[in-house]
């Protein structure tokens, strides 16, 4: 899973002078990764010593949420590399190679079973994103790159302190999740709280939570206008996964102390993002704010710390990779036609480009959470689950769904309807191929949520059981009961 995209990236780099060949290799690499992602739930994990001296192992496993998230990521990589190798003017091979490197890193984040290894992938994945922005970005790319770097690195270095201290203080024999989970919840509450805060700093930046979100908007605005790099951006909002898979199960007592604050911030994020989207005139900023609002809802689902909320949040995370990424690609196509991201430059496109309009409407509906499409099951379960544990914050966050309806319909009208009549060419063959996997993904995640939800649930149970260990008196269910009759 990690090696295939890496190998493809290397080959693409070597073949970068012959763009056709590079394109074939990049797409083949992504498809191969996708196939592996489908096979992942049934595969055996990988386990090797890495730094035995301090108990770090190279452990990967594909069960739980990893299977779903890697699937969505690999699926979106296919259109992304297609666009990258056709619409990027200079250094397209390098662009595609960086995308593939980032995919390898993402797979590592989702599959790591060792906390240090998780951090390693977390940090390593930053680099391709930075380079994509810095080399291929827009005019103000330098500022955006520095902002992204400072936010991400500051957060994650505090996370590193927490990670290293976690083993030292708890006396766990290694950084493997199984070893850690047995002992870390027994740490004193104050210690857990501090460690949790350290981890939360790193993860909140990449969730991203208000007020640590501002790198995201600039990143999306300044990224390459084809939208391919933004696809990666929407894949790389992995903070909620970090909370879900690591911070909550490892430090349940700390989580319970800090979660109310994070929950409040998540609600603010959801509303702030939605309002920001309403006020945006720039297409990419609009999308950045819209997806920030989604991230807030995911945050609400995670910090409600209720089983179905956690479940829905992770499902929503996977689904939004497809819908947000897809919309970024559509906006890239619009830019390709009109060289502008300003909404005012568009209008009435539906008359000259009906197919483009249809696909856009489909994706906008997905984006605002219309039932039957990919975002709905996750968004709904996320809010519903959180509502059962913490009704008020969830209720407030639900308001954003209404706002989403407003900005979604508004957007479609501005672009495709109205009196102004901008004539553009309709979708070409390439763009059809680009959007095809997106549509398949949206329908798959929208109509068949159950198998994926079940996979996520096995891992969500781990988190809730760890949380119950702290809140319930001893003698309650233990880890070995996971998968029992719940």
């Amino acid at each position: 899973m990690v090696l295939v995209p890496l190998a493809a990236a290397l080959l693409v780099m070597l073949a970068r002078n012959s763009l056709g060949l590079a394109r074939v290799i990049a797409v083949a690499g992504s498809v191969a990764t996708l196939v592996l992602a489908v096979l992942l739930p049934d595969s055996r994990g990988f386990d090797a010593q890495w730094l035995p001296g301090i108990g770090v192992s190279f452990s990967l496993g594909g069960n739980g949420a990893a299977a779903v998230l890697t699937f969505a990521a690999a699926l979106m990589m296919i259109p992304a590399v297609l666009v990258a190798t056709t619409r990027v003017e200079k250094g397209a091979g390098g662009f595609a190679a960086l995308l593939l490197v980032a995919l390898a890193g993402l797979n590592g984040i989702f599959m790591a079973k060792d906390l240090v290894l998780f951090y390693i992938f977390w940090e390593a994945t930053l680099i391709p994103g930075l380079l994509l922005l810095g080399i291929y970005g827009g005019e103000r790319r330098r500022e955006a790159t520095v902002k992204y770097l400072v936010y991400a690195v500051t957060g994650s270095f505090f996370m590193l302190v927490s990670i290293l201290a976690l083993k030292a203080l708890s006396g766990a024999p290694s950084f493997h999740i199984v070893d850690l989970m047995l002992v870390t919840p027994n740490l004193p509450v104050a210690t857990q709280t501090w460690l949790f805060v350290g981890m939360a700093l790193g993860m909140a930046v990449k969730l991203p939570l208000w007020p640590l979100h501002s790198w995201l908007v600039d990143l999306n605005e300044q990224n390459h206008h084809s939208g391919a790099a933004d696809v990666l951006g929407s894949l790389y909002k992995v903070g909620s996964f970090g909370f879900f898979a690591w911070a909550l199960p490892l430090l349940p007592a700390g989580a319970i102390r800090v979660a109310p604050i994070l929950l409040a911030l998540a609600v603010v994020t959801a509303i702030y993002g939605a309002l920001g989207a309403v006020g945006s005139k720039h297409l990419k900023r609009f999308l950045a704010y819209g997806s920030l609002s989604h991230m807030g809802i995911i945050g609400v689902g995670v910090f409600g710390m209720h089983l179905s909320g956690l479940n829905g949040a992770m499902y929503f995370l996977a689904a939004q990779m497809i819908s947000t990424g897809g919309l970024f690609l559509v906006f890239g196509m619009l830019y390709h036609r009109r060289r502008s991201y300003d909404m005012a430059d568009y209008g009435g496109l539906a008359r000259s480009a009906p197919a483009l309009a249809a696909f856009s409407l489909f994706l906008i509906f997905t984006f605002i959470g219309v039932p039957g499409l990919s975002n709905f099951p996750g968004e709904f379960t996320s809010l519903l689950g959180s509502f059962q544990a913490t009704p008020w914050p969830a209720a407030i966050a639900t308001l954003t769904v209404i706002v989403a309806g407003v900005y979604g319909v508004n957007l479609y009208q501005k672009l495709y309807q109205g009196p102004t009549d901008v004539r553009v060419p309709d979708l070409d063959v390439l763009e059809m191929y680009v959007l095809l996997p997106v549509v398949v993904g949206v329908l798959w995640f929208g109509l068949l949520p159950a198998p994926h939800m079940e996979r996520i649930e096995t891992q969500a149970q781990v988190a809730t059981l760890q949380l119950e260990r702290v809140t319930l008196p001893p003698g309650g269910p233990t880890l070995s009961d996971v998968g029992g009759a719940r």
Partner: protein, 485 residues
């Protein structure tokens, strides 16, 4: 354990050091007849490789209890591994100098014997088991480098570097010698183990404390730990870049190898506040090194301050000898040798022949003009900044883990906070290479020996990043020759 009347000399153990000494003599002799500096470089390289083979064979044999002169010259795992790293660093420096000396009009063949002699001193320091051996090693290591710093004759900056280094270095040596004398006065012995044993009973004489403090200060000079670091940036900026490549790697390793043993065996039985003093020095070094590096416009000066900062990270591990700090420090020094030497090697290809023109603007657009060189430099910068899958990251994890295990969480937090600062200035170089364009065409200087050096450094950086386990396991293996080490 000493055998009165009998000097036990273990020639096998001395072989790596003697190989260097012999090669230095041969090269010097060779220089009498041929003024070709490349020939001297080739001979030097052969000598270094021979010495490496000797060290490797001993390491593989697993005969790591060997010592010579009654525990005054040690052949344990830390000594042998650090010897290897010193030799590697010297080899890289020789390769980088190969063409660069001629380009900078510095091609006197005596350059290489001096470098070999200095490396010989560093190897002795890494193996020293008593204070006298340590002082001998230190002097042998330092004296040739005073001359090398001023190698660019007629250049005021280089001459200033030489004089400055000589004066401050002599001051550092004097401090160390004075400290050693006081420790001897208090304990009646120079051998580390005996010093520790003699003073372990509590009731410390003031003499011992003062001696320990002076020894710490003296070695702090050589290792460039704040507040004894002031010479470093000036000397590193003034001296020829090829010499700096050598200095920042080998001299630093030599000094830390000695500190490592003292911090493990001797300091703990002296005064607890000696360790506190070391902790404060480390904290200062981290802050001063990183923030000063942040202010620099010249890449060479930035790397000079950053090498001060890296001394701070190694220092973190020095504080935790009982918690895997020894192997962590040795590991860090290994990766540091690779990535730092690599960065300087790239710098020699980008800067002018007289080492000027090393400012950031020089790197603008390098990503387009020389993509491979820029890619390699990117990896070195990322590794120095501590980004995963490169050696610098593995080293940082080990060092921080050791410090946290030993209870220095505040220092680890400081170390990590300053790492953020560090990443900004390392990334600035990458930013210039890729995100900016410049009309300026860099000198099209190419040199295959330098390229070999870069490849070696890169291989080490990447290998230690992707597969750190084997080297770290090796560093942790082997019996301990002195109690507690």
């Amino acid at each position: 354990m000493t055998f009165p009347g009998v000097i036990d000399i273990n020639w096998t153990l001395l072989a790596p050091a003697i190989a260097l000494l012999v090669t230095a003599a041969v090269t010097l002799f060779f220089a009498l007849f041929s003024r070709d500096s490349r020939g001297a470089a080739a001979v030097a390289l052969i000598g270094i490789l021979t010495s490496m083979v000797f060290a490797l064979v001993q390491l593989m044999e697993g005969n790591q209890t060997a010592s010579s002169f009654g525990l005054r010259y040690l052949g344990d795992v830390p000594a042998l591994t650090l010897t290897l790293v010193i030799l590697l660093g010297t080899a890289v420096a020789v390769l980088v100098s190969w063409d660069q000396l001629g380009r900078g009009q510095m091609a006197q063949p005596e350059y290489y014997p001096l470098m070999l002699l200095s490396a010989f001193g560093a190897v002795i320091m890494a193996s020293a088991g008593d204070l006298i051996t340590l002082i001998l090693g230190l002097e042998i290591m330092s004296l040739p480098v005073y001359a090398l710093s001023a190698w660019r004759t007629g250049d005021r900056q280089s001459e200033e570097a030489g004089i400055k280094y000589f004066l401050l270095g002599a001051f550092g040596s004097a401090t160390l010698i004075y400290g050693a004398a006081l420790v001897y006065g208090a304990s009646g012995s120079f051998v580390y183990g005996d010093v520790a044993a003699a003073l372990a009973g509590g009731n410390l004489p003031l003499l011992a404390t003062a001696g320990g403090a002076l020894v710490l200060a003296g070695l702090g000079f050589k290792a460039a730990l704040a507040p004894f670091h002031q010479w470093a940036p000036d000397v590193y900026t003034g001296a020829p870049t090829v010499v700096v490549t050598y200095m920042t790697v080998v001299i630093k390793i030599g000094a830390f190898a000695a500190l490592l043993r003292l911090a493990t065996v001797v300091f703990p039985v002296l005064q607890p506040w000696l360790l506190t003093a070391l902790a404060i020095m480390v904290a200062l070094t981290l802050v001063v090194g990183n923030f000063s590096a942040l202010m620099q416009r010249g890449v060479k000066r930035m790397l000079a301050y950053s090498s001060v900062a890296h001394a701070g990270y190694v220092g973190l591990a020095l504080l935790a000898p009982d918690h895997g700090g020894v192997s962590a420090a040795a590991f860090y020094l290994t990766t540091y040798a690779f990535m730092n030497a690599g960065a300087f090697a790239v710098l020699t290809l980008v800067a002018d022949a007289n080492d000027h023109g090393d400012d950031l603007e020089r790197f603008a657009g390098l990503g387009r003009k020389r993509p491979w060189l820029a890619a390699v430099m990117t990896l070195f910068m990322l590794s120095l900044g501590g980004i995963p899958f490169l050696g610098g990251f593995s080293g940082k994890v080990l060092v921080f883990q050791a410090a946290i295990d030993a209870g220095y969480i505040w220092l680890a937090v400081l170390g990590i906070a300053t790492s953020i600062v560090a990443l900004v200035y390392y990334f600035r170089v990458i930013g210039y290479m890729y995100f900016r364009e410049s009309a300026y065409e860099p000198p099209a200087f190419r040199s295959s020996p330098t390229q070999i050096a870069i490849v070696v450094a890169l291989a080490g950086t990447v290998l230690l990043g992707v597969f750190p386990g084997w080297w770290h396991t090796l560093l942790m293996s082997g019996p301990r020759l002195i109690a507690g080490f």
